[in-house]
Amino acid sequence: MALESQPPGGVPRIGLGDEAELVARTLAGDRAAFGTLVERYAGQARRVARAVLGDPDDADDAAQDAFLSALLKLAQYDPRRPFGPWLMRIVANSATDRRRRRAVRRTDPLEPGLVGGGTRPDIAAERAALGERLRSALDELTPRRRLAVVLFDVEGYSHAEIAQVLRIPEGTVRSEVFHARRRLRALLADWKEAE
């Protein structure tokens, strides 16, 4: 696994052989193996779905649909390839389909729990403010651009892996990440300067 694909302080990447074995065991009827895959990828799938949908409940529904869909399609997974991008493609499709289906509505405000519990009120308020600004900034981006930056900067996937997930050329992934970062960095820089 390339260094660039290791997320900074995020979910550790799972070995290819380990994933293949878990998939093989799931196909053989071992539900516990599928449970291990779900537990490992739950956070990532929920974040990716939320990047597309905004609403946390919608995102969880989409992520759940994606896991069930993956279970049904598991025989199609190529064990020579990493499991993460294969699963994230299903998650991204599930979230995008749900986004298309649902009626256009305003993005729900961030829940207080999203910005971390148990912190001092002033820090919590700052984080909430930043979260809201980030949410607004994300909303301005296209879903594909959002997915690209979240998969790259949050989940640690490489440009090549994101190209597989989004079915776009690697150069386009770089461009999408660049534009998303430029917007988000400007926002974060303003916020830092205002501190």
Binding site: P7, P8, D60, G113, L138, V154, F178, L188
Partner: protein
């Protein structure tokens, strides 16, 4: 500020500041509860089989249905062609008449004579 953020937006490495801010915003917590919910839903779902297994599963009822259809079809055709009280041999002979040569060929219990068989082809 840019150095803190890991260089230019072209940087090929993940940006820890952008990544952490997005992670905090997108993470909803209680992944364990979510995983339990998914596994409960999955308990009712079938585990996928290989595409060949699935096709084989479709083929088995298809073959059985084809056999039943062939038997029923043969029975229906037989009822149409064979009159009540008539044997299958009679029906074949009747179908081959009016040619006396073909009737002789069909009613002969021994192996057909070459010249007779040729005559069935040549004679109208």
């Amino acid at each position: 500020m840019k150095e803190k953020m890991g260089g230019t937006p072209f940087d090929h490495r993940p940006d820890p500041l952008v990544g952490e801010a997005l992670r905090r915003m997108l993470t909803t917590g209680d992944d364990g509860g979510f995983a339990a919910r998914v596994l409960a839903a999955a308990a009712a779902a079938p585990v996928a089989r290989s595409p060949f297994d699935i096709l084989a599963g479709w083929a088995r009822p298809g073959i059985a249905a084809a056999i039943v259809a062939a038997i029923l079809g043969g029975w229906a055709v037989g009822r149409t062609l064979i009159a009540p009280g008539e044997t299958l041999d009679d029906a074949i002979v009747t179908a081959l008449v009016p040619s006396p040569v073909t009737a002789a060929l069909a009613s002969n219990e021994g192996p057909p004579d070459g010249s007779v068989a040729f005559a069935t082809v040549v004679e109208p």
